[in-house]
């Protein structure tokens, strides 16, 4: 462990403090005790010996008085019960030794020849004293006592005791300090541990558990608060850092996009120059031929054709550029009118057919059986379709195939699909192919690379018409499929099927037989009046059964049917009319207050051709009849 050394250091210091305190206290106490005891010991010992001497003197007073040393000797002999007393003597009043005593032979010091003075004399190893023997009337003599006074031995035994007590105390102190350590050191160790974890793993959520309420507990609390603060600040910093990184990324992307745009612009300019120059060489050659060849000759004709084609190409380029400019600045205004879809398709096909033929690509066109009308700007719509077809032609090798498929989608939607077997589009490029100036193939071998604005223009034009344009490709070499959807602008094509004239809508409408069925008499009468004013022949019915009967007796060309009809609702009526061969070809128009997708779907399933939502505008009616202009019956 990294802080093992620290832990040991704190433990050792703690132990040292406890031990040192205990040791010093014990030493001082011991010194005081021993000093006191030794002093007391001497005093007590002297007092004890004095008492002993007095008792001896008292007991021996008669012996002295009556000259009986034997008794005195016997009295002294009693000292044998006091092992410390090594020698004793009784002196007469005139200073002669009257009786004496020696414990054993170890004390060889001679007894004092003369007594006195009274008092004690303490040596290093022994203590001696003289006490006078007095009666109230006179002094009879002296008692002399000599005893062992082994201060050193006593000191030694004291030292032994002190050392023993110290060892025991220090052991107890050590045990107690170990026990106390846990309460003081453990929280500090916990702090160290958490600090370590924070430092190593940057885990600012770590907290030290608070176990005590003392200063250490306060330290733990403060440490935890600090951790929280640091964690919060770090988090803020990191968040700010992330935001900065994001901003930098955004700026880098923007910069990258700018560089990309700049490069695209450069490329576009280069391509433009190239594309503009391309037709110039054939033009110059053709002009040269015209100069040298005789007018009307075959070469002159060829040259004229070349010049015509190249000029048209130049014009188209310039037109594209102008369109790009207009669309980008939002200056394109659609001039909508009712126009047959077939005319638009034909117009587009006419433009691309020479290129298709030139490259030996097979082109198949599938159009719906029902003639359709669009409310659209014919020129723009044709331009969009032409661009799609041009694109398909450009990227399809000779011998390839292009499919143009026009379909109805529901009652009021059209899809135009342009699919080719060309080089396809890599999946990562799909999102960018509609960007302005995008070119997938920058190889010089491509005979026709263009400006990179065709698809972009097509998409924007279709979107201006309220539609959408999508591209799909299964990958490089697997062809591309463009799908244009144009919603809510379906009309019947007025001209006979296959007609390619664009002006069908403006032809004078023919007189039609019309069945009008609605239970609202006001609506039938006003609507009937309007139809009659347009010159149509109108019969009116007020319920489903009546309408069915009238349709069977004299089938009309067009029937406007309410859905909520009494007796037989509009859906059932339409089905019945479709079942009967006699009435099958009537153009059925649902006129209802419900305009939801579900209602349109139900109407289409029941067999209605069109679905109008009340109130009905006269313009809508006119468009319908314009589409019907010269086709009195539905195609089989």
């Amino acid at each position: 462990m990294i802080f093992g050394g620290i832990r040991r250091s704190i433990r050792r210091k703690f132990m040292l403090v406890v031990m040192a305190t205990t040791l010093v206290a014990l030493l001082l106490a011991s010194i005081a005790l021993v000093t006191y005891d030794l002093l007391t010991y001497k005093r007590t010992w002297v007092a004890d010996l004095s008492t002993q001497a007095d008792i001896l003197g008292l007991a021996s007073a008669p012996a002295l008085s009556f000259q009986d040393p034997k008794t005195a000797q016997e009295n002294l002999g009693l000292l044998s019960v006091r092992p410390n007393v090594t020698a004793a003597a009784i002196y007469t009043a005139d200073g002669r030794i009257f009786a004496s005593y020696r414990r054993d032979s170890t004390d060889t010091t001679p007894l004092p020849a003369r007594p006195g003075p009274a008092g004690h004399e303490a040596g290093a190893r022994q203590i001696s004293l003289f006490r006078p023997i007095v009666t109230p009337d006179e002094q009879l003599g002296w008692v002399y006592l000599r005893a062992r006074y082994d201060l050193t031995a006593r000191l030694m035994s004291y030292l032994a005791i002190v050392v023993g007590v110290m060892l025991a105390s220090l052991t107890v102190a050590a045990i107690m300090s170990v026990a106390l350590q846990s309460s003081v050191i453990r929280p500090i160790l916990a702090i160290a541990e958490v600090a370590h974890e924070v430092k190593d793993r940057r885990n600012y959520a770590a907290r030290v558990p608070k176990t005590t309420e003392d200063e250490t507990g306060y330290l733990v609390e403060t440490f935890n608060d600090m951790l929280g603060e640091v964690g919060q600040r770090t988090e803020d910093l990191e968040r700010a850092n992330r935001r900065l990184e994001q901003e930098v990324a955004v700026r880098q992307n923007a910069e990258h996009a700018l560089i990309q745009a700049d490069r695209q612009k450069d490329e576009f300019l280069a391509t433009l120059a190239h594309e503009l120059r391309n037709p110039l060489a054939p033009l110059r050659n053709a002009l040269h031929i015209l100069k040298v060849a005789g007018p009307g000759s075959e070469d002159a004709m060829l040259a004229r054709d070349i010049m015509d084609r190249q000029l048209r190409q130049l014009v188209r380029l310039v037109d594209d550029l102008l369109d790009v400019s207009r669309i980008t600045t939002g200056k394109v205004v659609l001039q909508r009118e009712s126009v047959p879809l077939a005319a638009i398709v034909e117009s587009a096909l006419e433009t691309v057919r020479p290129f298709v033929a030139e490259r030996a690509i097979s082109l198949s066109v599938v159009t719906p059986p029902v003639p359709l009308m669009l409310r659209a700007d014919p020129t723009r719509m044709a331009q969009a379709l032409t661009n799609l077809l041009h694109n398909a032609t450009k990227f399809t090798d000779g011998g390839g195939r292009i499919d143009l498929c026009v379909e109805r989608e529901g009652l009021d939607g059209i899809t135009i699909v342009v699919a080719d077997t060309g080089i396809g589009i890599p999946a990562d490029m799909l999102p960018f192919i509609f960007d302005m100036f995008t070119q997938l193939d920058r190889s010089l071998e491509r005979p026709y690379s263009g400006l990179g604005v065709g698809l972009s223009l097509a998409k924007r034009l279709i979107e201006l018409h309220g539609g959408s344009l999508d591209a799909e490709s299964e990958g490089q070499g697997k062809g591309t499929r463009f799908t244009a959807r144009l919603p809510g602008i379906v009309m019947f094509e007025p001209s006979p099927a296959g007609s390619s004239t664009g002006g069908g809508a403006s032809a004078t409408p023919a007189r039609r037989r019309v069945l009008l069925a609605d239970d609202n008499a006001d609506f039938t009468s006003s609507f009937g009046l309007m139809l009659r004013s347009m010159g149509h022949e109108v019969v009116e019915a007020y319920d489903g059964a009546e309408a069915l009967r009238m349709a069977r007796s004299a089938p009309p060309e067009v029937a406007f049917l309410d859905i909520g009809l009494p007796k037989m609702n509009g859906y059932d009526l339409a089905r019945r009319l479709r079942e009967d061969p006699a009435t099958r070809r009537i153009v059925l128009v649902a006129v209802t207050g419900w305009g939801q997708d579900g209602d349109r779907k139900l109407a289409a399933e029941a067999g209605f051709d069109l679905h109008l939502v009340k109130p009905v505008e006269s313009a809508q009616i006119e468009t319908i009849f314009a589409g019907l202009a010269s086709t009195p019956l539905r195609p089989e």
Binding site: P62, A63, S65, F66
Partner: protein, 182 residues
């Protein structure tokens, strides 16, 4: 005759010599006895009636030994017993034992002990005499010579009969302590 005289003179001389020797010995002996006599007083407890006053001296009467009496009188000068002065006097049979604490009966007068005994006991007088038979004759303490030293015997019974209490410390230095006695 001369022979007798010579003999007698020689005898006298011998006697004299022995008497002198006797005299030297007895001087010392007498002095010891005198000292003992007044020291005995320190170990004896008399009835309180004998000391009506704190200053009442201890009276020691000596019968039949004037030399000892004189010796003692000299010795006690300036000495006290239990703080009391000591008064020494001679004693004759006519004298009363009134106020006497210690009566010493010399060797020559021991025959008078039986007669003195009763009065002494009645008056709590410590009777001190001499000889091995003195106790039997009624003496409380009797000096004896033992190995040429002056010792004494004590009869606790006689002391009790006299109304005296003897300190055990005194008994400890006696040659013999007798519990019997007349």
């Amino acid at each position: 005759m001369i022979r007798w005289i010579l003999l007698s003179s020689a005898l006298v001389a011998i006697l004299h010599g022995s008497a002198r020797a006797q005299s030297d010995n007895s001087d010392l002996e007498r002095r010891v006895k005198a000292a003992y006599l007044y020291k005995f007083a320190g170990y004896v407890e008399w009835p309180d009636s004998l000391f009506p006053d704190p200053t009442t001296p201890v009276r020691i009467a000596v019968l039949g030994d004037d030399k000892l009496r004189d010796e003692l009188a000299t010795m006690v000068l300036g000495h006290t017993v239990n703080g009391r002065a000591v008064v020494v006097s001679g004693y004759s049979e006519e004298d009363s034992l009134e106020g006497v604490h210690v009566l010493y009966v010399g060797r020559q007068e021991t025959s008078r002990l039986p007669r003195l005994k009763d009065d002494a006991r009645k008056r709590s007088v410590l009777l001190v005499s001499e000889g091995d038979d003195a106790i039997d004759k009624g003496s409380v303490i009797a000096f004896v010579l033992s190995r040429r030293r002056v010792r004494f015997d004590i009869s606790v019974a006689c002391a009790t009969k006299s109304g005296l209490t003897l300190s055990s410390r005194l008994l400890s230095v006696a040659r013999t302590v007798m519990t019997a006695g007349s």
